[in-house]
Point group: none
């Protein structure tokens, strides 16, 4: 921590701008959120990608969304082995402590993590197959999605198909968590799968009846 540097002055300036405007206009709400605690309606699991901010897309107010962001918006299957599982911890906290009503998985186009998975599965990225590759091992979670895509989808469309599979694999894995399953069955929690095309600003949701993504 002796390596820590002061914040770049531009960000300091922007923070003061926020403090004097957005914060000042909403200070009583922020104060109340601080004293009463958060009570978010939804948890969102989305990608770290700098081009996909769910708070922007849904005009989110402070206190509304509990947000976990990781590479390619993936949820691993339930694995209560005593090891550190950051995504599972976030999920457990949201569902059992905060009791959110909605669990939204948001995928997106041009996802670097998904592209890496595709390259790895197709044998084009040996460096991702090494044990020491954190990205490679994380993207292993999407291998079941690749298996469903590789023989059916033309190669040119596989990246997009796999991005949507990343949402579906996560939805499937979510149901392996007992606390998610029981909340869904008790109808206190609903799951939602979304995918956004970042260049065109399109948003699609997974329609469980049609079994495909359709525009919202």
């Amino acid at each position: 921590m002796q390596h820590a540097k002061p914040l770049p002055s531009l960000l300091v300036q922007r923070y003061h701008g926020w403090k004097a405007t957005t914060f000042a206009e909403n200070s009583s709400w922020y104060r109340r959120l601080a004293s009463e605690g958060q009570r978010p309606r939804s948890m969102v699991i989305s990608c770290c990608d700098s081009r996909v901010h769910v708070t922007s897309i849904f005009g989110a107010d402070s206190g509304e969304f509990f947000i976990h962001r990781n590479i390619a918006n993936l949820v691993p299957p339930h694995q209560p082995d005593g090891a550190q599982h950051g995504t599972s911890a976030a999920l457990e906290y949201a569902v059992t402590a905060l009791e959110v009503s909605h669990l939204i998985v948001l995928g997106h186009s041009r996802c670097g993590g998904v592209q890496g998975c595709l390259d790895m599965c197709a044998g084009r990225a040996p460096e991702l197959e090494e044990q020491s590759s954190f990205v490679g091992r994380w993207m292993d979670l999407l291998r079941p999605g690749y298996a469903r895509v590789k023989d059916i989808v033309p190669e040119a469309d596989q990246a997009r198909a796999l991005e949507k599979e990343a949402v579906l694999v996560s939805l499937e894995n979510l149901m392996t968590f007992p606390f998610v399953r029981s909340a869904v069955e008790a109808r206190t929690l609903s799951l939602h799968g979304l995918w956004t095309e970042i260049g065109a600003g399109e948003l699609e949701y997974f329609d469980a009846v049609e079994r495909r993504f359709v525009p919202v």
Copy 2:
């Protein structure tokens, strides 16, 4: 995935509002970001908490921040064991593929995860000590911080002290990643520790010379 539900209409409405305004105003920029790829300047590691959105505090533009959010903004130590490490994967992608210039860890007041860690370490939360508790195992990462706080800081101040330790533990663990260390030493990457008081909108950064958090 047969459990997936359509998006609540409130969010559909807000999405259409965003599409007609923010997206429309910036469509050429979004299109360019989509075709050229992201080039974020900074990675931010912050908490899932619904009251702390770094994009708001810093008025972030699309494309500026690569954001990983987990419980209590924790970074585990480097552990190249072939298991799934979501935080490490995000870190690896940001530093080695995107080559971000800044790595910012943002902690905050009233953090539920940190409070859970405090309760667990003080013996007040046996349920978090169970192997099956994802939150408990995740918060184990902060035990070294608790060890530094417990005998020195008065009990009433321990939560706040531990929130700041969560930032410092993460900064320490960041340096155990060879790719982070070498980028820091090559001065192509700088680390920053921040903590925000959500009720008052205050922002502090860790001053490595003074060895304490000071207002920006």
Copy 3:
């Protein structure tokens, strides 16, 4: 060049202050901008006036704005006659080489160039009408704006009206450049007209529907 003098020591001091603070805090970002090249999102055309710095108003980061500044933020019409056109060259570089997404023309109150144009057009500044007057010939570009203002706007308001016309004339002339027009029509580029009142810090934009400037 035998006339060149060393930099005044005050500026040398300030440079060293910047180097030790802003530059040091952002050195990895500057290094990256140097090696990867700039990728600005916007081009701004604003006045040379020392009281109007767009980088300040918008808290601009290094790399964000490609800025051309001339007297009265004027864009001449497209004139591919092989002569030297500094504004057209800047425009061509921004739109065709850098492919900026936004083109912002920023006018301002108390503009000396615009006042000169008004005086010249009203016959009160014969020295500006001489062929050898660079300011006069440059301000000829705004004569079409004066024609729209002179009989309609009361004399006391003409300076302000003409400042806004300077923005509108530039917006019109921008569309005479084939590369601007085609980018606008392809929706990869959007044009924006702004005017700022420097004493009150107000900012207005041209609303193309209402056909007038309104506060942002």
Copy 4:
């Protein structure tokens, strides 16, 4: 002007941040600058490049620098032909109306305009040689600089040498303006040539005695 769009909301937000902080803190100074007019000490001629903001490097206050920015910080020779010369107009206004004391030409590393000139002069950029190329015709101004560099400087160093020539050519051309020459000779105006290395944040000035650029 029917094509003008509203300002992107992010810039609106940043403007409000500036208004509530920097502007609010300095409102009396801004008001005075508005009512009394500007009285800048220096004119700076620098490049449009988004990575070179002289206001940042010299921590410029509002009112201090009258700034003209064009491609490659070039000043054309005095040409009182009645045509539109934006750079000459800015120069004339600064020296004869504002009576600035310093005229600073600031060049920089990795200049796209200079690189284009180099490619054109070396026969590698036929598109820039076309009459319709505004960038090409503008960069013709630097041909005398290329002539001094081409046979003496090794090819690998020519871009940097030509960037510095861009400053020197401008200093030479400045002296062809009668109002500049007479002010310099009356010692009411001094000229300065600077060049900055953007990746390392270095700043050099032209030393007329040594006849080379040296660090400030």
